[in-house]
């Protein structure tokens, strides 16, 4: 018969495997200490740091809104009235040759307005002619560099608009004019590289991509115009808009980070494998995702409007930074614009197939209950945005018909009072919540170990006692 000492030793030994088993079970059913919410802090993501002082920084709500047309757009009536007023104001100037430094700025601004208005109304040749005269007058006055930025940008765009149709028919002169236009746009970038979200840069990059696609149409099925590969899988389950090191630095409050250092933590996209060799482009390295995103938003909202290449790029970018719902909507919007993707039907079909495949990838990763809501929600939002734009343009036309002055600062007050803001609120995607991870000791499942040890120790102690009692009976 075992003595108490021996039984105690056996009970202790039995507790060890019980402890190990308890720890294993505890990890499964009783989680170790989680981060403490009371110590969590909220930080802005690195893409909230501007590239240049005062530059606009990206919010994911901007991407959402541009996809769904949730922004105001002037209508025809606005530009017709503005052109009428600008012509009247220009007539007050005797001649471009009589301009001096004080009158020149005003005159040149009016020419830009008239040019833009004419272009919007489809009179791009006349607009281009105006801007050529403006350029001559500016050069006569000795203006250079940034002073010529708007002239270069506007003239380049108007030339493209004016002569593209004739270029299609093979008109050599028209082709030269269109080429000249692109060179003016490049001059505008040189004159003012920080202008307007970098719109011009990304417009040129789009042009370079399409130029390469003429010789290599397969590029259209391989890349979007910023160089994201369409044929490679994307690990969007772990995708984020920032690097992990940014979190550690923010939480430990490393002071003294420069804007460049912070922006180096932004997730980079584009110019993926093979891009540099395949596409003749100035864009040869991955860039912070917010740069092409802002460029696209700028062009879409303030320029040419919806575009399938832009929608596709926004979808691929958002996928790579973990914004799956926005990405899904971007792909959906891209499909609605497929007729403008490329003249070749097969290329358009591949484009649609790719967008649908990306959407299926996203749907597999979101809650089942959300999947059936995606399309109705997208359609509702897009309709909402388009209704807003229609109402905005109708309001303008009515106000103009009622002789309301365009430069009245309260021109749109009644409209905004009736309709409210169209911009979506900035959401949680634009904040990073950081809490300290549990310490090592907090992660050890003591409770499970004690329970496991207790169960096996008690069981063995009970068994040994029973055996000892049986042995002790006469």
């Amino acid at each position: 018969m075992l003595g108490r000492g021996a039984r105690f030793l056996l009970v202790l030994l039995a507790a060890i495997p019980g402890c190990v088993a308890g720890a294993s079970v505890a990890y499964r059913f009783v989680p170790p200490g989680a981060p403490d919410a009371s110590t969590a802090k909220s930080y802005p993501p690195p893409h909230h740091t501007p590239r240049f002082p005062e530059a606009t920084t990206l919010r994911f709500a901007m991407v959402h809104d541009v996809i769904h047309e949730r922004f105001p757009r002037h209508g025809r009536a606005y530009y017709e009235e503005r052109n009428r007023q600008v012509r009247r104001d220009l007539a007050a100037f005797k001649s471009p040759n009589s301009l001096d430094a004080t009158t020149a700025a005003k005159y040149f601004a009016l020419v830009d307005d008239l040019g833009a208005g004419l272009d919007y109304l489809g009179q791009s040749q006349e607009a281009a002619g105006l801007l050529r005269e403006k350029l001559k007058a500016q050069q006569t006055l000795g203006l250079k560099g940034k002073d010529l930025y708007t002239t270069y940008a506007n003239l380049g765009t108007f030339l493209s608009h004016a002569y593209s149709r004739a270029a299609l028919r093979g008109d050599h002169e028209a082709r030269s004019r269109v080429a000249e236009g692109l060179n003016f746009v490049r001059d505008s970038i040189e004159a003012n590289p920080q202008a307007h979200f970098g719109r011009e840069i990304w417009q040129v990059i789009l042009g370079e991509f399409l130029d390469s696609a003429i010789d290599l149409p397969n590029l259209l099925a391989t890349y979007d115009f910023v160089g994201d590969r369409l044929d490679a899988p994307v690990d969007n389950a772990s995708a984020r808009s920032y690097q992990a090191t940014y979190i550690r630095q923010q939480f430990h409050q490393s002071a003294g980070w420069s804007s460049e250092s912070i922006r180096s933590q932004i997730t980079r996209i584009g110019a993926e494998a093979g891009w540099k060799e395949a596409v003749k482009s100035r864009h040869i390295e991955p860039v912070a995702f917010d740069e092409p995103a802002l460029g696209i938003i700028g062009i879409w909202r303030l320029g040419s409007g919806a575009n399938p290449h832009f929608a596709l790029a926004l979808g691929e970018i958002m996928l790579r930074v973990g914004q799956r719902y926005i990405a899904w909507c971007a792909f959906e919007r891209a499909v609605t614009l497929e007729d403008r993707f490329w003249p070749d039907l097969e290329a358009r079909q591949k484009f649609v197939s790719h967008c649908r495949a990306r959407q299926r990838l996203i749907e597999e990763q979101i809650p089942t209950s959300d999947r059936s809501e995606l399309r109705p929600r997208f359609q509702g939002e897009l309709e909402f945005g388009k209704d807003y734009q229609r109402a905005y343009q109708e309001y303008e036309a009515d106000r103009i018909a009622a002789k309301a002055p365009l430069d009245d600062p309260h021109f749109y007050d009644a409209f905004h009072e009736r309709h409210g803001p169209i911009a979506s609120p900035v959401g949680g995607a634009d904040r990073i919540l950081v809490a300290p991870a549990p310490s090592y000791s907090e992660q050890i499942p003591y409770s499970g170990m004690v329970l496991g040890a207790g169960v096996s120790a008690f069981a063995i102690a009970w068994l040994l006692r029973k055996l000892a009692q049986r042995s002790a009976r006469p």
Binding site: F8, G207, G305
Partner: protein, 88 residues
Amino acid sequence: MLKHLGLAFLCFLCTAFVGGTARACINDREINNAEREFKSSYETSPDYDTTSAPGSVTSIDARVKRTAALGLGGALLLGAGALTFKRL
């Protein structure tokens, strides 16, 4: 010559197939105001409730489970000791 033709063709593609018109680079009286309004539309900070952030709260349920496991395990160990040292 070829370079001009190439550039012309790409510009044609830019305009004819890409959104029809490319008013990306137009600057007029509206542009600065439009950009300011655009920027100001998104300047509000998100309301972020740190106590409801996913994965950041130690659930009461988990704390109860851990306490119960510790208590039961401790009781069983004491019981084992009692069974071992109690007279037969």
